[in-house]
Symmetry: C2
Subunit: 209 residues, 2 copies
């Protein structure tokens, strides 16, 4: 009930800013900063203090007048809001260069996920190990998702495969998709987060003029 209410009332724009807050606050925590005022945080983040107070108020505040924010506590609160400590699980579908780069280097844990498996259709790739996971045959993907119930799939497969594979994953109960394929995916009740390299670079191409 609480969950439902919380999600209902917070705007997407506020949510979108939360990961950035979390990045800054965890950096401060790593630097052993004990507390910070909304003014101080505003200045390092290039925001206004009132914007920060407003954003945090959506989740019930956290700050104390005249004291500011306790960094460790704020970090914890943000982890709770973003649900980063719920031990959610992820699989990587497609172990090409981007897939491998993510598996080898990306810290899934600090974004809330545990990487539990990866899949590829390429015989040369199946059985190879990267980091903590071994590439499994894409033929076994359906069964794996139906039985193991991973929370999300990271789509790093060829664009042509994005729609059929993601439809199958959704059918088998996947709860979210992290989409690197440049295909526009849409499913009722299954959030999709897109990393669109080419859109981003084209915008830059326009902006540099």
């Amino acid at each position: 009930m609480y969950e439902f209410e919380r999600k209902k009332e917070i705007s997407q724009a506020v949510i979108n800013r939360m990961p950035r807050y979390y990045r800054y606050i965890s950096d401060l925590k790593r630097q052993n900063v004990a507390r910070i005022s909304s003014k101080g945080l505003a200045s390092i983040m290039g925001l206004t203090a009132s914007q920060i107070r407003q954003d945090f108020n959506c989740f019930g505040g956290f700050g104390q007048q005249g004291y500011g924010y306790n960094v460790e506590k704020l970090c914890e609160e943000l982890e709770n809001i973003l649900e980063l400590r719920r031990n959610k699980t992820a699989i990587v579908v497609g172990v090409g260069n981007i897939g491998r780069a993510l598996i080898k280097n990306f810290n899934f844990h600090s974004s809330g996920f545990r990487l539990i498996a990866c899949f590829d259709a390429n015989d040369d790739m199946i059985g190879k190990s990267f980091g903590s996971v071994t590439v499994q045959n894409a033929k076994d993907l359906r069964k794996f998702v139906a039985y193991e119930k991973p929370d999300i799939a990271v789509l790093t497969l060829p664009k042509e495969m994005a729609v059929p594979i993601s439809s199958m994953l959704v059918e088998c109960g996947i709860r979210g998709l992290w989409n690197f394929t440049n295909a526009d995916l849409q499913f009722d009740g299954v959030p999709v987060e897109n990393i669109h390299f080419s859109d981003s670079l084209m915008r830059l191409c326009y902006e540099v003029g």
Copy 2:
């Protein structure tokens, strides 16, 4: 003058949508579709026809009543708007896994750039060739940028290096930054496009609930 006026009057939101239009239109071109109505385009893109007409009107239309859009011509117009055929140049700074994945696989050309060089500070990496470029010593980066005047730098180096290196690049005349480092970068008159993997995954973590 024309350029200036054009850039002044078009909202960021419209610009942000252009790469997506371009993706769809170039797909249609590849499929040899000759023309498409705003209604037809709206339906495949999940938009409304009036939104599409409004967006394209910012750049002077392109469509003809009762005929729709000539796909090839629209594709060309979008390439012009986004300046994709100006032969702009890019360098990659940091040849770790993400840097290599981009060099080897990402089609810079279709997003408006020619990749002309890459740099790394790691002795084991210097001299190695990936695709059409050979890794150069990061010590030579400043000189290269000052003399060769690449338009943009792709920042795939460690986060700690992002601020000092990008400041140096801006000082040497770089005109745009494609930032993969998770550092928040800001320079007057130098656009920065960010690819924030962790922010994106954290949002998904929140959204899957």
